[in-house]
Amino acid sequence: MDDVMDLSFLQLAAAYIFILILIVIVRVRGIRREKEILLATVRMSLQLILVGYLLVYLFDNPNPFYTLGIIAIMQVFAVYNVYKRTKHPLGIDMKKHIAIAMGVGILTSLFFFILVVLDVTPWYEPRYFIPIAGMIIGNSMTGVSLGVNNLISGFDSHRAQIEGALMLGAAPKDAAKKIVNEAFDSAMLPTINSMVGMGIIFLPGMMTGQILSGTSPIVAVEYQIAIMLGIVGSVSLTVILYLQLAYKSFFNERFQLVKERKK
């Protein structure tokens, strides 16, 4: 780790030239995005600096409550992010299902990964727990928001088919099966695709980071494979939990197809 090259303030400042280039392009072409670009750059920089200091503090003072607290905050942000990212208005029921699925799905896979796969001691070691939680939560969040969007639009566009199945005496579970399967498939697809391209089309961020910080590429690859499998597990568990809970809210107690319930 000693041979890691630190960046000087000037070097880092030089990187901001890329943003200047972007702003010039946007200006010249008359695309009104300067404000957003500046805001995004400032936010990114400030948020990361804050996180950097926070992580330094946490690593110096490992404490299970801190670790769990950070995970809880990340979870809450991820859940809100999903609410914001859906194109459809969400009812209370739907929001509950998203929160439950993300809570159970992510925590189960995260703890399995930390305690069984990596076998970290102490279990709350923030150096492992926090970055891995970040990756698992982030990917699961993307999966669930895809699942939510596809489930809702699937129910919207296949009403006739679902009702046709109900008319044939199908239980809601059977009537919704195709929609649920398609939503699951499309939520999983980005994760599966990223596995396919990994190492050829791009080098994953975590692996790159580890290599840059002086870790042997072999060790970095081992970690990357493990985390990728963990991500697949978490995304699939979270999405299927969500779908299993959520499809029911499209039917009422008489097994009639309703628009999404807003109680």
């Binding site: 009702e163 199945a165 109900l166 008319m167 044939l168 239980a171 059977d174 008489r254 009639q256």
Partner: protein, 318 residues
């Protein structure tokens, strides 16, 4: 022999027409074959159906009993024992019509003060059991909404619907829909082959899968000259409509709710398929409630009609 067989056929025929209203006979052709066997005539379906067909094209197979009686009388005048056969048939007629009067009193559905916001307003309506009821009326008069209520696919905003004297709201919805099956106007086709589409209804309602012969005969009945493994998506609109109807028939429910099942069919196909279907539903305890725009088709099969309009509702026995 030919003459005797024909005579038996006529005997069976007049009985069947009398029994029509009692709804106690199975499918016409099958019933006849059995009847003939009992009288010592072993006849294959292949022999019987052409004879029936000839009778049909001779105009002997018409719906009204009186007409048939007249034609039979005419026919038997030229044959021996004509009067005896007729007397026998008439005796059966009296017995049966007494029975049929009792049957008519059984109600399948009863609607009281049913309202669906701005679409349906029914104070009192009964739909009889074991009959072919046609619902007529202009677009927007709530015909489809009425069928959806009977299938419990929607619930009324107000009022009560009962099925066999039990409130629909108290019946398990899956059981109800498996007993009272609805066929929508726009056919719903599922992924896969014709066979997949025929079997999926049975799978949905947890019934045993149909055999190849059964599926092929139902396709034939609905004039679908297709192979079971043909892609269902490639069928034309009219073929899809018949496939969706055929799928319902494989489920053999007690009540059929048909929403304009012939809307995508040409007139001739519509008549043939509807006649065949109505023959099938003459077997015991089958009730059909069908929406149609065509008065001619309603006249062909209806034993009871409901006329809906935006403001009122009229029901009657035809």
């Amino acid at each position: 022999m030919e003459d005797k067989v024909l005579r038996k056929l006529f005997l069976g025929f007049i009985q069947i027409h009398i029994l029509h209203h009692a709804k106690e006979q199975p499918i016409f052709g099958l019933w006849m074959l059995e009847e003939l066997k009992e009288h010592g005539y072993s006849l294959s379906a292949g022999t019987l159906y052409p004879i029936l067909h000839t009778m049909e094209s001779d105009g002997l197979l018409v719906k009204e009993e009186r007409n048939v009686e007249g034609k039979i009388r005419k026919y038997y005048r030229t044959t021996e024992n004509g009067n005896r056969v007729l007397e026998e048939a008439q005796k059966k007629h009296t017995n049966c019509s007494r029975k049929s009067r009792i049957d008519r009193r059984v109600n399948m559905f009863e609607l009281k003060n049913v309202r669906v916001n701005g679409i349906i307003h029914i104070d009192d309506l009964t739909i009889p059991a074991n009959q072919f009821t046609c619902i007529l009326g202009p677009s927007g008069s709530g015909k489809t909404t009425l069928l959806r209520l009977l299938n419990d696919l929607s619930s009324p905003d107000e009022g009560e619907i009962s099925f066999k004297n039990e409130r629909v709201a108290d019946i398990d919805p899956l059981q109800l829909r498996r007993t009272v099956l609805m066929v929508p106007q726009a056919p719903v086709i599922f992924d896969g082959s014709i066979e997949d589409n025929l079997q999926i209804g049975l799978a949905f309602s947890r019934k045993e899968a149909a055999g190849v012969e059964e599926m092929e005969s139902v396709l034939k009945l609905f004039m679908l000259d297709k192979k079971l493994n043909d892609e269902a998506e490639n069928l034309s609109g009219g073929e899809k409509q018949r496939l969706s109807w055929a799928r319902a028939m494989l489920l053999d429910p007690e009540v059929f709710l048909l929403d304009e099942p012939t809307s995508a069919l040409d007139e001739e196909t519509a008549r043939t398929v509807l006649t065949r279907f109505s023959e099938y539903t003459k077997q015991p305890s089958k009730t059909v409630i069908m929406i149609t725009h065509s008065k001619t088709l309603a006249e062909l099969v209806a034993e009871n009609t409901i006329e809906m309009s935006r403001y009122s509702l009229r029901s009657g026995v035809s």
